[in-house]
Symmetry: C2
Subunit: 555 residues, 2 copies
């Protein structure tokens, strides 16, 4: 069965390039739109108070009748975490994914109250026929099972998106990468490859998960007390390794953490995690066992490994705390921006008396391909054009250099930013303009109601605090009838700065009184006069610049 | 000449253990107090708005008549940066240091208006006699010239503080480590060694500065356009290497950055930096030269290498910006906590079209000893007791493990925290209680006026902003005469949240009116009622917790 001719192909990213996370790629075949992944990103330092970031999908919302499918490549938050937000705006679009991926996506949808999503399960050998494309999949190895790459076969050639992958030649468990299928796709002709740049700066190969399993087992075997293992909640491979080691050495595993419980429940139910008999116990029952019989498996908020550990180390965790003689395996790498939290937690663990296993021994490996593996993927796919995705610009750039090394000339590699369109006609690519893109910030229940101004204010407030001046005026008598009162937060200790604040109060009173004597009182200029005078006065006295907020009440 | 018998020796740290920076160690020989180093620390993430942190020296202030000397071991801010704050409180104490160290300390003192300090220059072969100790020094290799370790010889044995050091067997320039002298001190008997733990987690040896010089020269030789070199302002060795390479390949060096100019001026004046003839030019003259004739040497705020580069990459630097074809050498490692800033800057440089040299090539090495060098120091000194200093707890711990490996039994190693005293009598050590210690935060002109409450407020403000409620009441009529008015910053976009804020206003009005009907109005309970009701309402509606500040004006 043949698909129709495609005149114009457009490929762009709404998230996932120039950054780590919130992956979302769009492939347009003439009028038909295909969306790949819908991920969230966890906020960077400067996004004060923000919980999550998702891609701005206004482009898709306006064209939703043209969207044929959303494909989810694997169950990590960075690839499925925004699916509820997307399906709230874009209804009636089928969502394709493998069993585990859909299981995890469904749990996200349920939390957000979406029950009518059209979820269609695929297997790695599924073929889905659309008007202008046949879509196929290939199994990849990643830190979560049931990960696939996707291939959109069109009349101009295949568009291949690897998603997150690595080539572990001795992977843990039954999963194997579909090397043969990848080679076959490459032989048939790949028009454009989008491949994972996360580790493009790292030479060599990512280590094998099988060696990690041995290392973890070895640490557990040699531990004289309790063993804590901290990992990402979504790292089902790592969890399975711990469960097996527990079985092998007769330890019980207590699981701590809501996300971890949730992910494990789904994975067990769908057959992706094997719970050995009589191995798991409730955390409330750990006192019934000797220390040498226990493993505590834990993760934290957002499924991050360090937050629960930090509380356990500081003896403030509600369920279990670290004590002298514990062994802690940190089976996770540091997320960019979380380095300080990471090392502070390691410190706290040592102080609490634990033996911490984190860097010297290979108790964790990345789920992403390093340079040699990325070159292997490029050589298997032999794409005509190449778009490095997943990663900060420098990682995309490093990936482009690898492509050059294997023979893809620079003019066939596109270092795109979010919204940059690459357009293909007759198998020839050229830049095709820009579509709207952006960050939608999620803070509590608010989606997109925190923007640059609110963030700027939070940043200002965090630096030198705020100083509020309230004064109540009488319109009639043209007099101050209450105040000026000055209140500050996050600026100085009030008790030690009384004279400073007294002087500031006088300055305000003077300005207000002067203004009241004028014929026409302009509130806005009065406010800006107060702001200016106070700002100057306080900077002179303290070299600080608190936010100054004059409030004038009229009676 | 012999020194008097010492009955009791007490050693403790007021800064520099359990952290990186603000080094300050105290050695007490009976009643005589010796202070070693007076450093600052740059603030960690959670210290919002803070500029610098210095040790709390109240212990020393109360006992200043007993202080015999302050020794400065080298010219880095982490070792001399607090000297002005110390000398403001502790006057009339002589400060000893080598020529360059004192030159840099003097410049700090001058900035803070201190001109009457008693600065006494020493050389590495100086011997200073006190009542109960002879103090000698030994040359070490570090990233700034004129670094020394210090040895306090007492009747119970020597107390040796290595300060920052590494063992570069082929160091750049004329400096050599005083290996012979160190061995001699060791032979004579070291009671207690305090040694640098910064790199105690890193195996092997720190690379040689001579190889770095070759690598930098090589990059400069091969560059086709301008070369930017970013380094710490205090890394005089690195600066010298760049100047030599410039001379060798006929390039001019333009220096950008106030701190860099200041440090270079001092180093040149005192003979620690050699300016080859006709190599340096003003940054304003760079247009007169070809790109291939230029090197721009730069640093940033606090002498940190990345901040100026970031502005240059984003095209907002006042003097010079990055353009296509530039080569940027980042001759610095990342400070803990600055990883994100570092990688964002690298990204921005790539985006601006620069070729960035930072990790793949050895254009920088640490100034601190790795594991093999630390063991060498331990073996040279053969101390009876050992106190690992400089570093987070996990680094001290790693250093203790090294000591164990070379034969210093665990019970002779003290993993101290700030304020922990180790006491020696008859050459035998035991824990000796605790002295007061702490962080003094410097924000603008304020020293110590920002404490936990102010920081807590800044943290709260940074998360969800602030919501201010103002209402003016009449005492007589018992009525609201103006307001309630609600103003928020950093919470939500006001324009999109009108109904939310309207509803909040009504809630406040209700509470106030109800309260006004009571016989006795208690302001504090009114305020807490408002706070509680609003907090609950807003959390329900938004899942956010802004700081809520009720202000009641009485007329």
């Amino acid at each position: 069965m043949k698909t129709k001719q495609v005149e114009k192909i457009r490929i762009f990213s709404l998230g996932g390039v120039g950054e780590i996370g919130k992956n979302m790629y769009v492939v347009e075949l003439d009028d038909d739109i295909f969306v790949i992944d819908a991920g969230v990103m966890f906020p960077e330092d400067e996004m004060l108070g923000i919980d999550k970031v998702i891609p701005d999908i206004s482009y898709l919302i306006e064209r939703q009748d043209r969207i044929k499918a959303i494909f989810l490549t694997h169950g990590h938050e960075e690839h499925i975490g925004a699916i509820a937000y997307v399906l709230k705006k874009i209804t009636a679009v089928p969502v394709y994914g493998t069993k585990l991926t859909l299981g995890l996506a469904e749990s996200i949808l349920k939390e957000q109250g979406i029950t009518n999503a059209k979820l269609i399960e695929i297997r790695s050998d599924s073929e889905i026929l659309f008007d202008k494309a046949k879509v196929t999949f290939f199994r990849t190895i990643h830190s979560i099972p049931d990960s696939v790459g996707i291939s959109i076969h069109t009349s101009q050639g295949a568009i291949v998106y690897t998603s997150d992958f690595k080539f572990d030649q001795t992977p843990y468990g039954k999963n194997r990468a579909d090397l043969g299928k990848m080679a076959q796709i490459g032989e048939q002709g790949v028009l454009c490859l989008l491949s994972d740049s996360t580790n493009a700066e790292r030479p060599g190969y990512t280590g094998s998960d099988t060696l990690v399993a041995q290392e973890i087992a070895d640490v557990i075997y040699n531990a004289n007390g309790r063993v804590f293992v901290a990992c990402y909640a979504s790292n089902i491979t790592r969890i399975q390794q711990v469960l097996h080691a527990a079985k092998m050495y007769g330890r019980k595993v207590a699981v701590v953490g809501k996300t971890l419980h949730k992910v494990m429940d789904i994975a067990v139910r769908l057959g992706y995690l094997h719970l050995p008999e009589k191995v798991t116990i409730s955390i409330h029952d750990i006192d019934r066992y000797d220390d040498k019989e226990l493993i505590i498996l834990t993760t934290g908020g957002h499924g991050q490994p360090m937050s629960a550990l930090a509380r356990m180390a500081k003896q403030v965790h509600k369920q279990v705390n670290i004590k002298e003689g514990d062994t802690v395996i940190v089976a996770a790498s540091v997320m960019p921006g979380y380095e300080l939290v990471f090392s502070k937690t390691i410190d706290a663990l040592y102080r609490a008396g634990a033996n911490v296993i984190y860097r010297e021994r290979k108790v964790h490996v990345s789920g992403h391909a390093c340079q040699e593996e990325l070159k292997l993927m490029l050589n298997l796919m032999k794409p005509k054009y190449f778009i490095p995705v997943h990663g900060e610009y420098r990682m995309q750039k490093a990936h482009a250099n690898l492509a050059k090394a294997v023979g893809i000339s620079e003019d066939r590699t596109f270092l795109i930013d979010k919204g940059d369109v690459i357009e293909f006609r007759n198998g020839v690519a050229r830049p095709g303009g820009k579509v709207p893109y952006g960050n939608i910030l999620i803070d509590g229940l608010g989606i997109g109601d925190v923007g640059n101004i609110v963030l700027r204010d939070r940043r200002l407030l965090s630096q030198d605090g705020i100083l509020i001046v309230v004064v109540t005026l009488s319109k009639e008598s043209k007099k101050i009838i209450a105040g000026p009162e000055i209140i500050s937060r996050g600026f100085v200790y009030v008790r030690e700065s009384e004279s400073l604040l007294d002087e500031a109060t006088k300055i305000v009173a003077n300005i207000v009184n002067k203004c009241l004597q004028t014929y026409m009182i302009e509130w806005s200029s009065l406010k800006s006069n107060i702001r200016e005078a106070l700002s100057q006065f306080l900077f002179e006295k303290t070299k600080r610049k608190p936010m100054i907020l004059p409030i004038i009440m009229e009676v």
